[in-house]
Symmetry: C2
């Protein structure tokens, strides 16, 4: 026996970064071989074909994002958590960090298998996460009880979604801050 010499998660991370950068169709298998540090043969043996690798990279990306989100949100008042999360997304946007799920949704949304569903899951998941936090913040007296948590949660998720696109366009810090702060204002 001999176990895999490469770090599977790490390979998927790098593949995901490449896919997010150049798109699925824009990334050739040769690009992947060059960037991932393993041979063509190993790539096919360990991950299947290009599309299978894409899906695995997306799943990995989503899992990592979820872990990161949770660590950002637990503890402290809910409103502060929301603000912190939005500001983090804002910083990523200024840094032109492109989002793999958004890229995948835009590129393949209407036709491809599995991807549309994954993207929708990510979006509704984020909306529900926000809604829960808003409800908690209302309990903590930080958000007016008149506000509809579901509606506001969906709006915040959409704001994040918009920022993912903005990231492709090298926005100024000022623009991004305005968007983030306006979102936060909507909670007051």
């Amino acid at each position: 026996m001999r176990s895999e010499t490469f770090d599977r998660a790490d390979v998927l991370d790098r593949a995901g970064a490449l896919f997010a950068e150049k798109g699925y169709e824009g990334t050739s298998v040769q690009d992947l071989v060059d960037r991932l540090g393993l041979s063509r043969s190993s790539l096919y043996n360990s991950f299947g074909d290009k599309h299978a690798l894409y899906l695995q990279a997306i799943d990995r990306y989503r899992a990592r994002g979820q872990k990161h989100t949770v660590s950002l949100l637990d503890g402290g008042p809910a409103l502060a958590s929301i603000e912190g999360y939005l500001r983090t997304v804002g910083a990523e946007t200024v840094g032109c960090t492109t989002c793999l799920v958004t890229s995948a949704a835009m590129e393949q949304g209407l036709l491809n298998d599995g991807i549309e569903q994954r993207a929708r899951e990510s979006l509704t998941g984020m909306a529900e996460l926000f809604a829960g936090l808003i409800r908690r913040a209302q309990g903590e007296g930080d958000v007016p009880v008149g506000k509809d948590p579901v509606r506001l949660g969906r709006a915040l998720a959409n704001t994040v979604c918009g920022l993912r696109v903005f990231a492709s366009v090298r926005p100024s810090q000022e623009e991004v801050e305005d968007i983030v702060e306006a979102a936060i204002d909507s909670l007051r």
Copy 2:
């Protein structure tokens, strides 16, 4: 002499629809020939190569969008114009109408020539349009003067941007309505 038999604008519209649907890399020249109703040769003679056609389709799309926007916005109180525009975008979103500029920005944003700039122009243009309308609505007593028109305008543009992504994911009418109504609420 013999003039062009096809309608140039119409061909660009159909090309744009195809590019928006399948992405730039995902659309082959053969796809274009099949859909546009003119021969490979005419296509190259009249529009140059694939990338040139793409840019022309984007420009045409933007011009058409601008014309449409203007017709939607002139006349009546500014607040009603904003609401009408947002609801129109919402309807397009429910109908899964994908936006060529957003697709182009996501696919090529960081690397390609001309496209990033065009996408940013579209976004900042929309933000400024909103800012102007908000200022007018403030003059008309429909929006509190305490609100910052520039910030709010940017937030609305970002909301539209997010909806363009949502359209790829077959959202429910309810979700989209929540997002649109929350955006409108932010003006009160």
